[in-house]
């Protein structure tokens, strides 16, 4: 009589697979998972040793952080993916960037009514530094950029638009295509732009220029100064930080329509 135990089919199947692999000289995935578990423990202790010597360096030195991030990216590791990751737990990089993320969100939210959800990286940097206080760790613009990249996954429209050698940080889901972006870049020099300037510099028809400017007005990213001498001026509060940093007087507010 044949003996039948529970799972003989599965065991036999496994034995066949093992045999096949032994033939080929390769290792089964489940054996590799066991191997990975062991290697992980070893890695963890190496990381602990590294942390005990250099944790301060990461905390205090923005350049070192950049090096660290770039090396991680090169080998295919994201040290900021999870607060539960080794990097975050042992080196404390996680808390640094996640907290920065909170501060960035709060600054953007506080200023949204003024600039429509668009702010220069410079201004964001200044305000985050101010909010962190005099005794906090130094935060570089590279740090901000990395924190913002992480915020994107939460779907609130966080993005970066290159203008004038730096960036504008967007924190609202307003759709900004190439046309909008290039007008923002044009406006960067003076903080405002006119239809004529757009037509001249970009060689566009009036309709295209008006279409883009209307969209920026509707999204609250641009304010119209129709009282300006000559031609109506479209101001971008994000680019004109002096305007954003002091309160607009009632007379000025009447002249400008968001």
């Amino acid at each position: 009589t044949m003996r039948r135990g529970v799972g003989t089919g599965a065991i036999a199947k496994k034995k066949r697979a093992e045999a096949k692999y032994k033939e080929r000289g390769s290792v089964l995935a489940e054996d590799q998972i066991v191997q990975m578990s062991k290697q992980l423990e070893t890695f963890k202790s190496h990381l602990e040793e590294f942390a005990s010597k250099h944790k301060q360096e990461i905390r205090k030195n923005p350049q070192f952080r950049v090096q660290f991030q770039e090396m991680c990216a090169t080998i295919g590791v994201d040290p900021l993916a999870s607060g539960k990751g080794f990097w975050s737990e042992m080196l404390g990089v996680g808390d640094f960037y996640y907290e920065l993320g909170v501060q960035i969100i709060e600054v953007c939210l506080a200023l949204k009514h003024r600039n429509g959800g668009l702010i220069t990286l410079d201004e964001l940097h200044q305000r985050v530094l101010k909010g962190r206080g005099k005794y906090a760790q130094e935060v570089s613009q590279d740090d901000l950029v990395r924190a913002i990249k992480k915020l994107k996954v939460m779907g609130n429209g966080f993005g970066m638009i290159p203008v004038g050698g730096s960036y504008l940080v967007q924190s609202v889901p307003a759709e900004l295509n190439m046309d909008h972006t290039v007008v923002l870049q044009l406006a960067e020099k003076k903080g405002y732009v006119t239809v004529s300037e757009i037509k001249e510099s970009l060689n566009w028809q009036k309709e295209r220029a008006s279409h883009v400017l209307d969209h920026l007005l509707k999204e609250g990213l641009a304010w119209l100064d129709s009282q300006a001498a000559g031609e109506a001026q479209y101001w971008l509060p994000a680019l004109f930080s002096e305007l954003s940093s002091r309160d607009v007087s009632p007379e000025e507010a009447n002249q400008m329509t968001p």
Partner: protein, 382 residues
């Protein structure tokens, strides 16, 4: 700028060096001084500025000359500045780079940042007024106008040397750190390669991977920060960590959601949760992954993505129909509403109010009037 005198800048007896900052340009009032970008030094007694290219081009004035100081924020293309208002130069002031100036203030422009700390220290020194307690003696070899470069001693080199030593020490620490970091990365790379090999085998269904082993593998990936290459969604697709997190969030967010009309933007949740935790913060991805599990864990919350891409957490009890009906009611009552007005009415954020109105519009209950004055919604009477 006529308050400055040439100096050898070596710190005198009783004078202590406080802080230095590179990348500082001087302004005579609002005009750039005809000098390069240099280094500003603050001592307990003086403000000194030097250009390391020219060892004898060191300028200084006593802190007692300062009336008050202001900060000037930077802007697009402009560096942050400190404005220093000064008393008129005394009769017996030693010669300096400017014989007279129409301005009574100078500015320090910080091209390489550092203005916050410098301002703080300058304010501190001006409060402490340490120069009053410990007057420094006049340096013996102070150059007068007619003296040549030799007697303008190489004081700036002295300071620079100290800075250089400090930097070398830092560099040594950093290069050791970089070396250790490189070695660590080599080991990390081995882990990445191993995980890729495993992932490929799972994809090709080689070998018999149990559900348990898959979950374990995913947790290893999470620990290392390696993206999960196996995108196959099984019912146990999250890690144990995210499962726990999801339940915690389910508890924690009930009350805040009720207070906010049943809906919160994910970024709002992120700030709320992390501010409450204080440390061991959640990454944005942790939050998203945990929220994705609400449904499978049968928790009374849902993660929802609007057409605009905005992600929210909402209470199950606040159904779609209810939200749309209430939006329609409010709009009908007022005749028309913008997102801002609706937000004020409900005590919600403008972002979420807008999403509700858009949703009601999508369902055909509202229609829009989109002008440069803003987006306004009306009941759809068609």
């Amino acid at each position: 700028m006529d308050r400055f005198s040439w100096t050898n800048s070596r710190t005198e007896l009783n004078e202590t060096y406080v802080i230095e900052q590179r990348g500082v340009r001087l302004y005579d009032g609002d005009e750039k001084a005809k000098l390069n970008v240099g280094t500003a030094f603050l001592t307990t007694h003086r403000l000194i500025w030097g250009d390391i290219k020219y060892e004898d081009s060191c300028l200084a004035f006593p802190l007692s000359q300062i009336i008050f100081i202001e900060e000037q924020a930077g802007g697009r293309g402009k560096s942050a500045k400190i404005v220093i208002h000064l008393h008129p130069a005394p009769e017996n002031k030693e010669p300096g780079p400017y014989n007279n100036s129409k301005y009574s203030y100078i500015k320090l422009s910080f091209k390489e940042h550092g203005q916050i700390e410098f301002y703080r220290r300058l304010t501190e020194e001006m409060t402490l007024k340490r120069w009053e307690n410990t007057p420094i003696s006049k340096p013996i070899s102070t150059g007068t106008g007619s003296q040549g470069g030799r007697t303008r001693a190489v004081g700036i080199v002295g300071i620079e040397r100290k800075i250089e030593e400090k930097r070398k020490e830092l560099d040594k620490n950093i290069s050791e750190a970089f070396e250790d970091l490189s070695q660590l990365m080599v080991k990390a790379k081995e882990m990445v390669e191993l995980s890729r090999s495993i992932a490929n085998k799972i994809k090709d269904k080689q070998g018999d991977i149990t559900e348990d082993e898959t979950v374990r593998f995913k947790s290893y990936l999470l620990s290392m920060g390696i993206a999960n290459p196996v995108t196959r969604e099984t019912h146990g697709s999250g890690t144990h960590y995210h499962l726990q997190l999801s339940k915690q969030l389910g508890d924690m967010l009930q009350a805040p959601l009720e207070e906010r009309g049943g809906m919160m933007a994910l970024t709002e949740v992120y700030c709320l949760v992390n501010r409450a935790r204080g440390m061991e913060l959640l990454s944005p991805e942790d939050l998203v992954n945990a929220c994705k599990m609400f449904e499978s864990l049968k928790l009374p919350l849902r993660l929802r993505v609007f057409d605009s891409g905005v992600m929210v957490v909402q209470l199950q009890s606040h159904s779609e129909e209810e939200m749309i009906a209430s939006a329609l009611d409010n709009v009908s009552e007022k005749g028309s509403l913008t997102a801002e007005e609706f937000a004020k009415l409900l005590g919600l954020s403008v972002l979420l109010s807008k999403e509700r109105l858009l949703l009601a519009e999508k369902m055909g209950h509202l229609c829009r009037d989109d002008s440069v004055e803003g987006l306004r919604f009306y009941p759809n009477l068609f």
